[in-house]
Assembly symmetry: C2
Homo-oligomer: 200 residues x 2
DNA sequence: GCAATAATCTTGACAGTGTCAAAATAAGCC
DNA sequence: GGCTTATTTTGACACTGTCAAGATTATTGC
């Protein structure tokens, strides 16, 4: 197939992203070193630096991709009429998203990027966008069913925190184990739905 | 004061823990290197290895200390009669605990220990204990006020996830900012309290 | 008190990391 | 074809965790 070692790779940028995702899955966020990545791409240690300013930029690119997927998922799951079943289903999908690629989820929300490194403008944009997307769609799902003194934005923030916290506890292997997760997520949805006015 | 450079430090173990906590606060979990730590303690690079098997063991010791504090705080805040005010106050205290020493909180619940490294038996014990403590105390606070089909353990898990998720989003600097936090935490408590039977 | 043992600490070394500078190579353009 | 620009490479530096072997002190047995 590919010629055996041309000087110019030809498609390094996307190859790096692809292999980086694989490495992330396999070796985790710490196991992802630029040198290993370069080797996998069949290229010298410093070659990646001409496609990403530094490691942080690479990670931000990965996270940005992932947020796009998440945003798409949110749009797909939270459309149409709101119901407890639909929200329960969304939560299940969210948990699946997080647990199927835990290292990716960690990268998206973890401190590696947001604290230690510095999130790209592009990443911040898509991250905030996906939250706004969630808030709006959840808001319209609960349309007219919230008590008057309840701000839909607060419900969105609190419920996201709940699901996010669930994912973190689950992914990091603390407290909540896989057998409980279904019951806990149901309970969480119950909490969210309980915020509704005593039914319409 | 201290003699200027004896061969035997005399109190290295506790000095290491103390300085490690300072380093954690100042430079974060990544900035905490054993070499810097050794230098601060006025000792050679490998001296700490005679007191902690490896870096993971040191971090586990720090986390264990922190969980003890948290456990103590839980016992202090969640005693006596249950009320919305008391729970709201607990949540505020929890948020304060997490945000005043974010790096410590990250260490306690983050993947550095639970995923990448391996939690000590001692750490696991105190971590689980503090959750059980929380679950029991919250359970007795909500005693007799929960619907019959609602498992108090699930409520404990779900509510912990909510508060934990809030802390993570806040600490890592995503979505929730400091100004919103009070309102969001109130909303979260509202969600938790909404699980109660339509009042007693 | 003194020798043997154990605890503690040091120096040297190794493999691994991210990243910079300077040189080499290839591609694209006029 | 020659110039410019985009890629890629080699070499180097400072930093990391950790192991092995030796130096030093404390502790124990007699």
């Amino acid at each position: 197939m590919s010629r055996p070692a041309r000087y110019h790779h030809g498609d390094l940028h996307s190859t790096l992203l692809r292999e980086a995702n694989r490495l992330l899955d396999e070796d985790g966020i710490d196991g992802l070193s630029l040198r290993k990545l370069a080797e996998r791409a069949g290229v010298s240690r410093t070659a990646p630096y001409h496609h990403f300013r530094d490691k942080n930029a690479l990670l931000c690119a990965l996270a940005t991709q992932a947020f796009s997927q998440l945003d798409e998922m949110i749009g797909r799951q939270l459309q149409g009429e709101g119901s407890k079943e639909r929200i329960q289903h969304f939560v299940r999908e969210y948990l699946r998203f997080a647990t199927e690629h835990p290292e990716q989820y960690e990268l998206m929300f973890g401190r590696t990027i947001w604290k230690s490194g510095a999130p790209t403008e592009e990443l911040k944009a898509v991250a905030y966008r996906s939250f706004r997307n969630y808030a709006e769609r959840l808001g319209s799902q609960l349309q007219g069913r919230l008590p008057a003194d309840t701000d839909p934005l607060r419900v969105a923030q609190a419920s996201w925190a709940t699901v996010h916290g669930l994912c973190r506890l689950l992914i990091d292997g603390i407290y909540v184990n896989r057998e409980d997760i279904e019951a806990v997520s149901e309970q969480s949805v119950a909490l969210i739905m309980a915020a509704l006015a005593p039914s319409a």
